[in-house]
């Protein structure tokens, strides 16, 4: 079997995907079949929260692909995520139709409010789901291609590359804040009603979105693992560890980086597109530079260059974030910073690296 073959030497991935499978089956059942009075009941709110975490885990996998395996410390992946989210948001806005406050069948509310007479050209086509689905991958992919083509060909790397990825997402944030851009300004896109005709308020839609997020995470994971199992994956590691040596062996390092970067950006776009209907809003804050830095922290905490570590890191930190922002909101940023410092000092290979080490020690003793 092709799929099992991909996971052949990937015990962490087997465990992670196994747990994911169990959760994906169990959670909907516990939501639908167990009555609300029962303590085992999982409320729909929690299902959606978990679905949101899964999309962030996919985003972390995308970052691990380029940072863990290629050594490109991207601090701009939040931008690709947000662009995918906006593409989905535009489709959801068009789905509202004449049910908006102003009841305009063509124009979203914010355009009516701005006295616009017709739909801008770049909103054309977003009433079709297939078109939006293509844009969800195409827009982040094209931006990553243009950005990567310029940066990797001129051999920008290291800190400089990290800085320009930050600049990219920051510039996009400022642009999307502007009302004239036609993306709803600082309010962003919200008040979504339904997706492909299914109401977003319905439990069944929310559960479906959760399951789809799990499927997307699993598929994205398998794709990344498949790439890393190929010779291309070994070339990536070669580039990460000694870029010039790889060049002297005849590899076009810039092309390797470019294509992996594009794939990663498209995965981030898909993650963003699944995130938006579950949180119900997309606004320019998703582009803020701090978001992109946070993703890197998730990957560092989970353990770089393992892929499953990225998933674990994203889930751990986001669970902690939900907890802290509810209980002790003023502490969250300090807690995040503290976790990052502690992990870098004490667990240089992240949580998964630490577990590996414990196991090796146990095996050595046995």
């Amino acid at each position: 079997m092709g799929l099992l073959n991909i996971l052949k030497n990937d015990r962490g991935g087997q465990i992670m995907l196994g747990v994911l499978l169990v959760i994906t089956i169990l959670v909907p059942l516990l939501n639908l079949l167990v009555p609300e009075s029962n303590p085992l009941h999982v409320p729909t709110y929690t299902v959606t929260l978990m679905g949101k975490y899964l999309t962030l885990a996919l985003l972390a996998v995308a970052v691990d692909l380029v940072w863990g395996y290629l050594g490109i410390l991207t601090l701009g992946h939040g931008a690709f995520f947000a662009l995918g989210g906006y593409a989905m948001g535009m489709y959801l806005m068009r789905q509202i139709g004449d049910r908006g406050v102003y009841g305009n069948p063509e124009l979203p509310d914010f355009m009516v409010f701005l006295n616009w007479q017709e739909l801008p050209w770049f909103w054309q086509g977003f009433d079709q789901f297939w078109f939006a689905a293509i844009m969800i991958m195409l827009v982040p992919g094209v931006l990553a291609f243009v950005f990567g083509w310029l940066a990797f060909r001129s051999r920008v790397s290291g800190v400089y590359l990290s800085i320009i990825t930050q600049a990219m997402t920051y510039a996009l944030m400022l642009a999307f804040y502007r009302n004239e851009m036609g993306f709803g300004g600082n309010n962003g896109l919200t008040d979504f009603k339904d997706l492909l005709g299914f109401s977003l308020q319905e439990d069944s839609t929310r559960i479906t979105l959760f399951v789809l997020s799990a499927v997307a995470l699993a598929a994205g994971y398998l794709l990344c693992r498949h790439i890393m199992n190929s010779r291309l994956g070994r070339v990536c590691i070669a580039v990460r560890d000694s870029e010039s040596r790889a060049r002297f062996m005849g590899y076009r390092v810039e092309n390797v980086k470019l294509w992996i970067f594009v794939i990663s950006a498209m995965l981030a776009g898909i993650a963003g597109a699944l995130y938006v209907p579950q949180v119900g809003i997309i606004n320019p804050n998703e582009f803020s530079p701090i978001n992109s830095i946070e993703i890197v922290v998730w990957v560092a905490v989970g353990g770089r260059a393992t892929l499953y570590g990225a998933v674990i890191g994203a889930l751990l930190i986001n669970y902690a974030k939900t907890y802290f922002t509810a209980e002790l909101p003023e502490i969250w940023l300090f807690a995040l910073g503290g976790i990052f410092v502690l992990v870098t000092l004490l667990l240089p290979k992240g949580v998964t690296g630490f577990i590996d080490k414990l196991q090796q020690r146990k095996e050595a003793q046995a």
């Binding site: 190929s230 070339v235 000694s242 002297f248 590899y251 076009r252």
Partner: protein, 279 residues
């Protein structure tokens, strides 16, 4: 071009647009027996002339030893040939047709110039086998690497090479765990897998035992003929061993050729004696 002819071109299905023709390095032409031409090359770093009007010709199939004290510019010369450093002036040709100064590192490597570094640089996290696999001559575009599968011919070539360098026991070991000498050998193996026409070998015996040195000399001599080999060393004994009585030795000093000829002749050269005794 008028609109009509432009339209005719569009309609004409046989017409090939120049930008659609894949850029290909001209094929190697060694009809004049010379594989590498370096002429009038100079490089300076912050005003310091590391290479100074260097002229060097390597024949096809030749094994050439280049000696020179530390700082003579040996490594810099290799940097120029492999595209890492751009010279301030001069020209570098691979055969009659390939202009090395117009190409970047991967293009030069693909044209058939392989390089072994002074400091062994293997990919430490990859296994010995994987290091050799990556070095192996094969398609290098992203899609081909993604789809690459070893065919039986390639596997047997890998096996042969790994035996030749004596690392068959360590095939699955991460290259970072090899000893210094083993890394040197792995790098030579990687160079062979690349099947280059010209091998540039920078100080191959640094950190090797005497036994290993002899084996290395043997291997390099056996490579000459099929490949051209340029060996850079400052270890005189090793060079004497390698050059024998009938190979050309070039002495590099302060970035240019000080003396060139048979080992016995070069050793007598008063200029060489002065440089080496003055050291």
């Amino acid at each position: 071009m008028s609109i009509i002819t432009a339209l005719e071109h569009v309609v004409d299905r046989e017409h090939v647009y120049p930008f659609l023709v894949p850029k290909q390095a001209p094929t190697l032409d060694v009809s004049h027996k010379v594989l590498l031409y370096l002429e009038g090359i100079s490089v300076s770093f912050d005003g310091f002339k590391a290479i100074n009007d260097l002229n060097l010709y390597i024949n096809d199939g030749e094994l050439r030893c280049i000696i020179g004290p530390n700082g003579a510019g040996k490594t810099t010369m290799m940097d120029i040939i492999t595209g890492k450093t751009r010279p301030d002036c001069g020209s570098a040709w691979f055969g009659q047709t390939i202009d090395l100064l117009a190409m970047d590192e991967p293009a030069i490597a693909q044209a058939g110039i392989g390089r072994k570094f002074q400091k062994p640089t293997v990919f430490e996290e990859l296994s010995v086998w994987e290091n050799l696999e990556l070095a192996m001559a094969d398609d290098r575009d992203v899609w081909s690497i993604f789809n690459a599968r070893l065919n039986s011919e390639q596997s047997s070539m890998l096996l042969e090479t790994i035996e030749l360098i004596g690392l068959q026991e360590n095939a699955k070991m991460p290259a970072g765990r090899l000893s210094h000498g083993q890394k040197q050998w792995l790098e030579i193996g990687m160079l062979l897998m690349q099947k280059p026409r010209l091998l540039l070998v920078d100080e191959p015996v640094a950190g090797m035992t005497h036994q290993e040195m002899d084996r290395t000399a043997e291997l390099l001599i056996s490579l000459a003929g099929r490949h051209s080999v340029v060996v850079v060393e400052h270890d005189m004994d090793f060079v004497r061993n390698l050059a024998g009585d009938d190979r050309t030795v070039t002495v590099l000093h302060q970035g240019s050729v000080l003396s060139e000829g048979r080992m016995s002749k070069v050793q007598q050269d008063p200029k060489v004696v002065e440089v080496y005794l003055g050291e």
